[in-house]
Each structure stands twice: as C-alpha cells, then as structure tokens.
C-alpha cells in the first residue's frame, strides 16, 4: 500500500517521462477525498504558481457516465497558461486533447454557498477559452478518484480577450474548429445549464474542504462539447458568441 505522496510521485514521473501509467485505483482503491489529497501532493511536486481552478465533469452526460452528482475540480498554474494564438509544443505531452470552454476572472473572494447572481457579481470578466487535457493514465481510462488525483488531466489552457460581464452568459453559442473546419458545436448552457452555476458548484466544493475562491482567480467553467485529439500542425480555435475566439497552433 503506497502513500499519497508515493502516488503523487508516480503521477509526477508520468508527466516528466511523458509515459502513461495504469490507473492508480487498479492497484488500490481510494476515495475522491483522497484523490484531492494526492492532487495537492502532485501540485507541490510540480511547484507551479497557482492562478486559478478548472471544473471537470460539468456536463450531465459525463456525470451520468461516471455515476456522480457533482462536478470535480483541478488547479491551473501559470506554467499551463498558453498565450492566445501562440505556438504550443506538444513534445511534453502524452496524448493531448482539446476542448472549448468559458473562463471567468474573479474580482472578489467567493466562499460558502453563493447564489448565481452573487457569483456573477464577484466576476471581473468572462472569456472564450480552450483547455488542453492530457490524462496521465493509459487510454484516458480512470475512475473519478484517479482523475481528481491527476489534477483533472490539466495540461494547458488558452484564454481569449476578457470581456466585462455585461451580457447574459447562460446560452452562448460555441463552435470548435480544427484547421478551419467546425468539428464540435454547443452552447455555454452545456455547463450545468449555465456556466455561472459551474462557478457556484466550484465554490461549494471548495467550502467542503474549508477553502474559498480567492479574488483574481481564473476559473475554467467546464467543457461545452466532447474533447477532440490535438495533433502537431493543428490550428484549433473556439468561437464563442459575443466573446470572440481563443486559438492555438500545435507544433
């Protein structure tokens, strides 16, 4: 029976060596709560500068598939941030995928159990975003506790231009394009019916751990569509109604 630190080290080695591992729970089952403790150990090993959080499993379809009733979260670090329209090397990744997202930037601390209105009022701005995910597990095969331990597969993210929150964000049309061709269609409503509700769920999850969401946090509210494989040479763009685009050139 290996310790939480040993499990985090196994994940850390997978990242460093760019070699996928069997899911950790195959050897020994552990709870989602333990998954979050392993995630914390992993982040300590990576020694990144925390800039925000990402939500996972925010679509009803994924929640049903994984038999869960609440989303999960991971941590975003400055090292994961990719400039909009930048070249992005895949050489450090195992089997990257990319998905279209909505990002919030908070201006006030959020804690406890805020209403949607309170959560929105605590936001400075909103943006189109792309998230690169790269499970450290073979074939993206994992339990919920595994993926939490693996920092929810977080690898990189791109934020488009920030917009003040002056328009409703509950049903913004979204299109994911790869090399100019639309490949996924959706709406921001795919995130729990309204991405603001995803932000609320995040604050509630943090509250359970005795934490709050600090002012100045970037929050990726969840994927609006299924993820698509990201390959060298791909130009990937998400277009979001009223929010513009976030783009990446994979190399």
């Amino acid at each position: 029976m290996s310790s939480k630190l040993a499990k985090a080290e196994t994940l850390y080695r997978a990242i460093q060596s760019r070699k996928a591992i069997p899911r950790l729970t195959a050897e020994e089952d552990f709870s989602i709560a333990v998954g979050y403790e392993i995630q914390e150990e992993l982040l300590k090993l990576q020694a990144g500068q925390v800039v925000g959080l990402k939500m996972g499993m925010t679509s009803k379809a994924k929640m049903l598939q994984m038999k869960i009733d609440a989303p999960i979260f991971g941590v975003l670090t400055k090292e994961m941030l990719i400039a909009n329209r930048a070249q992005y090397s895949l050489s450090q990744l195992i089997h990257p995928r990319i998905e279209p997202e909505i990002a919030f930037l908070t201006k006030r601390e959020l804690s406890g159990n805020p209403s949607g209105e309170e959560a929105l009022a605590a936001c400075e701005s909103v943006a189109a975003a792309l998230e690169v995910i790269d499970s450290r597990y073979e074939d993206f095969s994992f339990t919920l506790a595994d993926v939490v331990a693996d920092n929810c597969s977080a690898a990189g993210f791109v934020i488009g231009a920030w917009h003040p929150i002056s328009v409703p964000v509950d049903n913004l049309g979204m299109v994911l394009k790869v090399n100019g061709s639309p490949v996924q269609f959706g709406s921001s409503a795919a995130l729990l019916g309204d991405p603001v509700l995803s932000l609320v769920e995040l604050v509630k999850l943090l509250a359970k751990q005795g934490k709050s969401l600090p002012a100045g946090s970037i929050v990726l509210a969840g994927a609006a569509t299924a993820a698509v494989p990201l390959n060298i040479g791909d130009h990937v763009a998400v277009e979001v109604e009223k929010l513009g685009t976030a783009e990446i050139y994979a190399c």
Binding site: N171, G173, M174, P182, F185, G186, S187, A190
Partner: protein, 266 residues
C-alpha cells in the same frame, strides 16, 4: 414526379401508421428500388390528402438532415424537406397529447417567417435574409411512422421528413438583431439541460438551409411564398420524450419556447 400505384400504396401505409399511432415496416424493405423522387411523391400524396378536406391548411415547410453528423449517418450529402400543415402547429406552452405519437423526439431550432417570395435558382443567404419578416424560436417534434426509427433516406423523406408537430415561440425578432451564426441553443428536459447547439450547426447558417430549400423547390417549379413558415433545421442533437415530459428551448437573442407532453387521448 409521377404518381404510381406503388406510391399510393406506400403513402397509405404511412398514413395509417400516423393516424393509428402504430408504426409500419420500412418502405425500403418492401420497395427496395425506391428513389428520392419517389419518396417526395409519396410525401406529396399524403400532404395533399391532409389538406383536401379544407379544415387543414398548408402553412410552410421544414428542412431536415441539416447537420453533417446526421447526413453522414444516412449517407446523404444534402438536406431534405417535409410539409408543415396547420394541424401540426401548437402555441407556446401547449400541452401535446403524446398518445398520438409513436416514438417522438424533440429538437431546438428557429422558424423563418417570410415576407417576400423566394424563387430559385440562385437564392443565397442574403436573399433569404432580405425576404425574412422575422424569426421565432421553435421546438420541432419529430416522429417516425417507421418502426424503431429504422429509416433510410427514402423512408424519412416519404414520411414527411419525420415531422410530427412544432411549437412556435411568441417573440418575433428581426434576423439582423443577431450575430446569428453563433446563436446558442439550449434544450432543457424537465429542468435539466439535455441538448445544446449553435445556429452554425445547421448547414453552416440556418439561412443557407432556407436558400437550399428555395433552390430545391425551383427544380419542381415551385417557390417559397410570403407568409410561409420555414423550420430551418436543428441546432443540436435530438432528445427522445415521454409522457409527462416538459421541454424548454432557449435560442440566444430569440427568447424561449416550451411545451409539455400529456398522456391520454385528445
């Protein structure tokens, strides 16, 4: 399109299946050489029969197979169309008798209500926008009179593009109010989001689907007329519905439309 005894017979089969809410076998099983023009002939026969008594009017058309995913599934390269009659139309917040349907599904989309004639060929997006009076959010209820939705392209075309009913929202919006290609669609089933999409998923732009229809009708010597209601095609995946279900569709910039499915006869 020539009417023949086999067309009449297959039209009758679909007519009975609809009236009795009891599915029939795929037409493509019994008539394996059925072509797409044959299928439109069958659809025409039932539309004319439906409006023949005078109580029911022809009010417009629906465009189907507007998503590349669905076209791929049915191995076709273009959309199809069916007819909308006045008895298929319901008002916002209507309660629909589910017992009249076989295996219904719902989808979120928009209706173009025309103020000018659109006569092809050569109709393009700009012509459609110029001829459009206003848009409405719509729930379309599709239903296959063919057992278990085992449809090939000719089955669905003959079956009025699998259309059963549609619910029109109340708010009228001019299309120019919107950055329309990116308009979001969210369909909620009993309060939970069940399908999302975007206008662009409908053939790149819903107005392009209407242009396709106008140009296709021109091949039959017909045009789209002022006052016609054109459902341009789904913005996102379809969702099956059952007795008691409540459906709400929101289209960004166009408001909402909702309906409920009851049990029992009506």
């Amino acid at each position: 399109m020539q009417e023949s005894p086999i067309h009449t017979q297959l039209a009758q089969q679909l007519w009975e299946a609809r009236i009795q809410a009891s599915p029939c076998e795929p037409l493509s099983n019994t008539a394996s050489t059925l072509t797409i023009p044959d299928a439109y002939s069958i659809s025409d026969i039932n539309m004319r029969r439906r409006v023949a008594q005078g109580a029911v009017r022809l009010v417009g058309k629906k465009i189907g197979l507007t998503s590349l995913a669905v076209q791929k599934q049915l191995q076709v390269l273009e959309p199809d169309f069916g007819y909308l009659t006045s008895d298929m139309q319901f008002a916002d917040e209507a309660i629909l008798p589910i017992s009249t349907l076989i295996a219904p599904k719902v989808e979120g989309e928009v209706a173009f209500v025309l103020k000018k004639e659109l006569r092809g060929p050569g109709v393009d997006r700009a012509a459609v926008l110029a001829a459009t009076d206003y848009l409405l959010p719509v729930i379309e209820i599709i239903d296959s009179r063919v057992r278990d939705w085992k449809i090939k392209i000719v089955d669905t075309i003959a079956d009025n593009a699998s259309s059963a009913a549609y619910i029109l929202g109340k708010e009228r919006h001019a299309i120019k109010e919107l950055d329309f290609a990116l308009a979001g669609m969210a369909l909620f089933l009993n309060g939970e989001v069940a399908s999302t999409g975007v206008a662009m998923a409908c053939l790149g732009h819903p107005a392009d689907a209407v242009a396709w229809l106008a140009n296709t009708m021109a091949r039959f010597g017909q045009s789209l007329l002022p006052g016609e209601i054109i459902l341009s095609g789904a913005f996102g995946p379809v969702v099956p519905v059952f007795e008691g279900d409540h459906v709400l569709v929101k289209i960004s910039g166009l408001g909402k439309v909702e309906c409920r499915f009851s049990g029992g006869n009506s």
